[in-house]
Amino acid sequence: MFAFRPLLTALRLAIFSIIIIGLVSFVFIQTEHKIQENEHQALLQSLQSLLATELYDNELSESSIQLGDITFFRAYKANKPSAVIIKSTTHQGYSGDIQLLTALDSNGTLIAVRILNHQETPGLGDKIELKKSNWLLNFTHKTVEDMQHSAWAVKRDQGHFDQFTGATITPRAVVNEIKKVGLFFHNNKTQIFPNLK
């Protein structure tokens, strides 16, 4: 005889799944707009915190240009390019992607670096956050020549940037990513700032 009971059980499981998916979707739709607003606000805030206000007079979040998977926010002062903030993501982190903002002046010299998002180990790899340690300040004023030099690496790799106790992969990923985007900007400047001589 055909067994109905397993079918009914499966049906019950399906109904529960639909209810819960419905609940999660409902909350997702309700919060989606607010979450995007928060993210946008946080991005704006971190963009503004990277550059001193006398460096630019345009709306940073509206002057972006996308090359590959890297976003460039261009800063102008009196219509002349003054600086750029590069938003990029490295996949070399210890757990998941690390999203960072790198601010460079128009010569390619580093102004500041900030971490936007990461999932590195709390207490070990998360010292890349400025909130938790001053490590990120090591990069300030570094030039294109510094980035081309072989010492642009963590100490474990015979470079001159500190790694953290118990975490080498995280700082290595950040060091490499800054070099990558810094040199990318240097080599593609005319494309990012078409009117720069």
Binding site: T9, L13, I35, N38, P122
Partner: protein, 210 residues
Amino acid sequence: MTYTQIISNGLWKNNQAFVALLGLCPLLAVSNTVINGLALGLATTLTLALSNSSISFVRHTIQPEIRLPLFVLIIAGIVTIIELFMHAYFYELYKTLGIFIPLIVTNCAIIGRAEVFASKNRVLPSLVDGLAMGLGFSLALLLLGGMREILSSGSLLSQAELLFGDVASQWKIILLNDYSGMLLAALPAGSFIGLGLLIALKNSLENYFR
């Protein structure tokens, strides 16, 4: 079972971390400082209270064959909803705790309480059980976090501002000046050893007072 029994079970007699040895994955991973431990403990307590009460609420419609997938479904749904709410309305707190929230799903103490308690009891006792078990788990996280933080960096309550806001930025207590740190305590191995020592302490306390 009376409420007093439920509470004393959760906090001490059947403490999920020290006695049942459940939820070790988040416990060992996020107990490197007091603040991290406390934050995960609070989030776990909230999840336990919500999952226990909702599972107890639908307990008569759950057939035994499908109870485990259903528990997982309900717990994962609750954790996702908590995460979305925090992301939308407590953005600063989310940025700090965000990485811990998904870890709660891996806490088998939650499914354990669903199976042992919530699926067999009324809603209110299940809610109390969830809260008590959660607080017991938080207690373990706090003790282990404190122990590891002292040993690994010689301080307590560092970065309290992440959880309590700017008023807490001065809460950090430096216990040992010029302390060079003990890496073992910060690493996962130190976590296992620390938990072992705490369990030994709990057992010897019980033997002593018996």
